[in-house]
């Protein structure tokens, strides 16, 4: 079970990490622990795999890459075969089966934004199925809070 201080760290440190000379000391004070304890806790959380990292979350498009969400209607009996074809593209990530007629959902990420359309055409050609491109038009992001 997670103790109270671990929970507090996870709940309060999902953003707004200070950009000051001694940010850990500042956060530790707010949490009522010492800087050493905070650094130890973060190290433990990383070692346990509860955090993927402690650092920045980048905005892919603002770094110059192409990123979109795409969906396909895949016949159930061809699902595994199509999944293998789609996943073979290195640009495909986070491929999920979902309960809808559009039942395969994945992220496409390309180094050049204009490659998105080309990859979609290649996937359509290889699978013989339509790919719906669902590009992001706006993001309503108000700071993730995953409570533990």
């Amino acid at each position: 079970m997670m103790d109270a201080i671990t929970r507090k760290i996870i709940n309060q440190l999902q953003g707004d990490f200070p950009i000051t000379e001694q940010p850990y000391a500042q956060v530790a004070e707010r949490l009522g622990i010492t800087e050493t304890e905070l650094l130890q806790q973060l190290t433990n959380l990383l070692d346990q795999g509860l955090l993927s990292r402690f650092g920045p979350l980048y905005h892919a498009e603002r770094l110059g890459g192409g990123l979109t969400l795409a969906a396909m209607p895949v016949p159930e009996n061809k699902f595994d075969q199509v999944a293998a074809q789609v996943n073979a593209f290195p640009e495909v990530a986070h491929n999920y089966a979902r309960n809808h007629e559009l039942n395969m959902w994945f992220i496409l990420a390309t180094e050049q934004p204009e490659r998105i359309d080309e990859i979609i055409q290649e996937i359509e050609a290889q699978t013989g199925l339509p790919v719906y491109n669902m590009p992001k038009q706006a993001e309503y992001y108000l700071g993730l809070k995953l409570e533990v």
Binding site: F17, E21, L45, L51, G55, L57, N87, H94, A97, N133
Partner: protein, 175 residues
Amino acid sequence: MDNLTESEQRLIETIQGGLPLVARPYAAVGEQIGLTEAEVIASLAHLIQIGVIKRLGIVVRHRQLGYRANAMVVWDVPDAQVTAIGQQLGQFDGVSLCYRRARHLPEWPYNLYCMIHGKDRNAVLRDLDKLIAIYNLSHIPHQVLFSRRCFKQSGACYTFRSVTICLPQRAAGGG
């Protein structure tokens, strides 16, 4: 990326895997790339301000924290209301991401997407009911798409120029 300075690019690359867990992390980063602590602090503030860095802090693994169910809830919101409703949904505690996306009429009328994470499907559905009640959304057509299987998780990192970006799991339905 083209409008970032060379030192900003180096900074982005250097901290992509995480900040050093030492008392003065920005001084440590600066030492690696030939910048002063003050320059690193100023650059980071700038990168956050222009939105290249969305957040700085803990990046969690949902599954490892016991959040095993995720639903992508899609809504067909009149265009004139999408911003207002999107902002409301984004504020709700169980919602991790909220995006407006292109519709594909006639078969896909949905233009607003949000991800809801929960310990299990029932928890997600309870959150959704609460959300609909709080924001008065029962008249907005929506669908709940649960994930059944995840086929590809390992490919969640991409390299743009020399920066490798790893999407957190919660981005799965949101991007």
